[in-house]
Symmetry: C2
Subunit: 460 residues, 2 copies
């Protein structure tokens, strides 16, 4: 079993290295910043930096102007002393003129002074190992940086602030409490649990399962928030899919023409509606085609539909509901499908009975698009994407840990109800507690840590 | 005349604005930084930042951890009080998680609190207007950020440190001294200059002209250092131009094939040799061609040759010196031309008398490339690209100011020698002094300032 306890990490020697990396985005800019972190950070800074004061003598959280060895650049150096730094270690941050050449020279200078290049996520990993962040908060750091919508930013910021961690801790404490009862019983009774009220314990565990499942149920919402809502626009050729996309985006990204089959490539655009990120895919005209390239496009469209969260199925006034439409409507039934009836402008009398979940629009005039946007909002509401006061999980790791905890707890209930040995119940309870601890990183494995932090960018 | 005096700027109201901009490169990264500068910088920071201390109470050059209004992000804020900041004004720098969404939100927050977005170069412009940098140093800031080679970085860093400014000041002081003599004479003599030794004054001015011309002569070297050396590889089709380029670059950037006319596009690569940037252009095979696209390529090649600093003219062992070779050799005569005789590997006996400035190479085996690189080094040496202890000018503005100063001084000498009125001499001397002052920005016009700072990136 590859699970080891966190406190082992704290006494491991791996953090004796002093690491360095550019922490600002790559490229040319007015200012770039290199962070140096580790036991020798200030010693190295002291050696290569020349200002009014020696860095080794200055106070934490102060900034110093001076030059670097070899006169590489004039810089500002910020000093952070352990434990009050991002990583929890001694750190310095060097601000310099943002040229990639200077970046290279400063990194070379640091490396020749016994620092080494940081791996992706290594600063945050050290922050985690030094107890500055739990694992949920560390994941939130990456999500904050990647966030593309207000909702994603709001949520990941909440997670960084420990909102989810606190909830998990509360549940874990309930579990520890229940576990305490079981262990107490085991201490006194040789083999079997002889509870005053076994059903009360079962109820206790069921309540806990309820709490966890409530969080588990937010997984899909979390996916919508952090990854965006995959929205696919499908329909026969020439019904106006690209024009509808353009109306939504209010620009000219997709090529629109009168020749059926123009939009061969899947076009991906992103739009934020009410703080929620929708990823829009305009698919190739869906039909049987002799054209090899278009065939490939149709194949990709069908593939996209299978991964879609929301489908806009476009028909038009003139050729509504032919055989192909029927086919797609049926094959899409499991999805949230909005039927868009385009070319409203061709209606002489502006009346048409539209079915539920259908919107009558005109990509030409823009008529009906308010109703269309209302459909986006309905999706947001139905999926509770902006519910402020609940805890949301944001990735499959979090989902799996919680799911495993629920499974263990269900096993514990089974054991209790089938009057199995108390040891079995205790074992399942312990597993559940450990899965909760995995979630926050109280218990963790190197594999899990590597998987999490390798996804970070360099410098984080 | 659009020249106004610097001290006017200091009393102008334009700097009452508080400005803000992202100062780190654009894009996603661990950390981005926004600078706020101006009289209200700390007041605004104090209002939107919540940490242990109020920003208005903290010392200059200290860093503070806390959160921003609307809980946008957890940030570090650095405080710099006037006059000890980059701009010379009160400034704060906000470090936050480097997401473009957070950037946007923080900028919006600042703008809603009476800051405005900084224009390109506006921070450095304020540094200049507040006397933190002279104009030569301000230009050096932009050059440091753009520097692509060690030499360029070394030179621009020297210029930022005031190396050129000091030299200009010294010359300006000589001029002021000479001017003093003339004015003294004018005070005493009603109309004409009656010097004890007019020829001594002429000599003095000639010495000054010599100093300025010495700096002027570095313009070409400066161009090589800061813009790179334009190096063009020309020759008939199929002599191995692309293979030679690849050997030089040691990669596979250019497409190499046996079909004459393969390299239709001009390929631009950059290589740094001994700290000097060479921009390499591999041109289309030069010949008359019926192929429209190749014709266009040849046209572009001829155009490039006209702008080249260094030309590698490639022939091969088999077809050396035909009519076309002769044509190009003649038309290229004014340039620094190195003749590369390729396909040395085809020689059975490895002897061939090569002319001066010719190198025998084999792109196939790599034979002879050390001699070729020696030619790059000779170019560096001949053009004094790495002369450490002279002052180098880096752009046409600097060249023009110095040239104008020389012209005025030559006029002054003419007036002296033709016994014209002392007023004329004094006028020319004054012009020369003003041109020197323009160079460092003691005297400047809004047009010049705008031209200089608009070339900067946002945030600088």
């Amino acid at each position: 079993m590859s699970i080891i306890f966190l406190n082992l990490h704290l006494f491991m020697t791996q953090n004796e290295d002093t690491i360095c990396a550019i922490i600002t985005p790559p490229g040319i800019g007015a200012v770039s910043v290199i962070r140096v972190s580790g036991p020798k950070a200030i010693e190295i800074g002291n050696k290569i930096f020349f200002g009014k004061s020696k860095l080794k003598d200055v106070a934490s959280y102060t900034i110093h102007y001076g030059s670097l060895e070899q006169n590489i650049d004039n810089v500002l150096v910020s000093v952070f002393r352990s434990p009050n730094s991002y990583t929890g270690e001694d750190s310095i941050e060097i601000s310099y003129h943002g040229s990639s050449l200077i970046s290279k020279k400063i990194l070379e200078l640091l490396i020749s002074n016994q620092a080494r290049l940081a791996e992706p996520g290594e600063f945050t990993k050290r922050a985690f190992l030094n107890g500055k962040l739990d694992l949920l908060q560390a994941e939130a750091v990456a999500e904050i940086i990647q966030s593309r919508s207000d909702t994603a930013l709001f949520r990941s910021k909440k997670q960084l602030d420990g909102f989810l961690s606190k909830k998990i801790d509360t549940i874990k404490n309930y579990l520890v409490e229940a576990m305490g009862l079981i262990e107490l019983e085991l201490d006194f009774v040789e083999e079997d649990l002889q509870f005053l009220d076994k059903s009360q314990l079962v109820q206790k565990i069921e309540t806990i399962i309820g709490h966890i499942e409530e969080i588990l149920s937010t997984y899909k919402t979390g996916k919508y928030i952090f990854d965006g809502v995959n929205t696919v626009i499908v329909g026969r050729p020439n019904v106006g899919k690209s024009s509808i996309l353009n109306r939504i985006l209010k620009d000219d990204r997709a090529i629109v023409s009168d020749i059926p089959g123009t939009t061969r490539d899947v076009i991906k655009e992103e739009i934020v509606i009410n703080g929620t990120l929708f990823r829009l895919y305009d698919t190739a005209g869906l039909r049987d085609s002799n054209d090899k390239i278009e065939e490939e496009g149709v194949k990709r469209a069908k593939n996209l539909i299978s991964k879609a969260d929301l489908v806009f199925f476009v028909t038009d006034i003139e050729n509504s509901d032919d055989r192909l439409d029927k086919y797609f409507r049926e094959s899409l039934d499991a999805k949230t499908i909005i039927k868009l009836i385009n070319k409203k402008d061709l209606l002489s009398v502006q009346t048409l009975d539209v079915e539920k979940n259908s919107v009558l629009v005109s990509a030409l005039t823009g008529d009906g698009f308010e109703d269309l946007f209302e459909k986006f909002n309905e999706f947001i509401e139905t999926n509770k994407i902006y519910t402020e006061d609940s805890s949301i999980i944001s990735n499959i790791r979090q989902f799996n840990s919680l799911k495993a905890a629920v499974d263990s707890l269900k096993n514990a209930i089974n054991s209790l109800e089938s009057n199995q040995s108390g040891e079995f119940v205790a074992l399942d309870m312990r597993k559940a507690i450990n899965h909760m601890k995995e979630l926050t990183g109280e218990i963790t494995s190197d594999d899990v840590l590597n998987a999490i932090f390798s996804k970070f960018c360099i410098g984080k």
